[in-house]
């Protein structure tokens, strides 16, 4: 790590209908430094508007406290249960709303992209992702699963953009939907 270089701070979000995981990292060139992680829990019995308010408020507080410059959000799976899919969509929409309303650029990555970036193959188990997050960020303990997923999506954004950015002229590219467009 070169402490004199200015880091880019990334907030990774793994949305869920009950628990939204988050992870914040600083990126110094090829080095990634852990800043914070955790999860936002909503009470399943609460009305939807109340649950959405909890998600938005916590994300706004994270942004105010840590001042990330970019956000990466994991794309969620559609569930076999349509009501669960709707609930998950609502939680994810609220999280992205909270990010965009604070002016953060939002990049999206599928679970496959996260596994490929962090573990090196798309069929990796959840534990392998957790293990690699611990290793890549030199953590002394294993973070809770949702927090690890938040860190993993932040790392994915850092890894994918670093690899591409080193090959491309930064002035000619535009990031959209987690991909670079020339």
């Amino acid at each position: 790590m070169n402490p004199s270089s200015k880091p880019i701070r990334i907030l990774g979000i793994d949305p869920g209908s009950r628990t939204t995981g988050f992870g914040i990292i600083d990126v110094y060139g090829r080095e990634h430094v852990y800043v914070a992680s955790g999860c936002i829990k909503t009470i399943s019995g609460d009305e939807l508007a109340g649950r959405i308010a909890v998600i938005c408020q916590h994300i706004a507080e994270l942004i105010d406290t840590y001042r990330p410059q970019q956000a990466a959000v994991e794309q969620v799976f559609v569930n076999v249960n349509p009501a669960s899919t709707l609930m998950l969509g609502q939680a994810r929409g609220a999280a992205i709303a909270a990010l965009t309303m604070r002016g953060l650029p939002v990049y999206e990555y599928t679970a496959l992209q996260v596994k490929q970036a962090v573990v090196g193959q798309g069929k990796a188990a959840k534990e392998q992702v957790q293990h690699m997050v611990v290793r890549m960020l030199a953590l002394s303990g294993t973070p809770q699963a949702d927090a690890a997923d938040g860190l993993a999506v932040a790392l994915t954004h850092a890894l994918r953009n670093h690899g591409l950015a080193s090959k491309l002229n930064p002035d000619s590219m535009r990031i959209k939907g987690g991909r670079f467009h020339l």
Copy 2:
């Protein structure tokens, strides 16, 4: 209408993955007065974060311009297509996030409750809802379908709470999820 009484201004929202309808009404006791209506359109080819930003920004502008005191949001149907259900959920979550982040209390009503409140029966066709919205608000023209749905959900909130409020002691009740709890 008694112009001396202080109205309650309600913002009704009918969320959709492409078009979010809205309607604003003033409630003076049993009288309902049209204030504004319209729809927020997103471009389907745009990335999700951009579409969510459009929804949030427009709702924030509506709140700043018209200063409603309460919001009513229609509950959406789960679609046969899980991807559509997820998209609809994301749009709805973003709309509710925009409302709660501006401190508006949000009440939810099913399509059945809207039809029952506005037309008098749950099996009413979309055109009957539009017709009743025009009649109840003494409109000179028929609003666009999504805008009419926004007005209909605002009217539902006004009608359901007025009817119940007249029978109950207002100090002992609490509104939650579109229903009164004693």
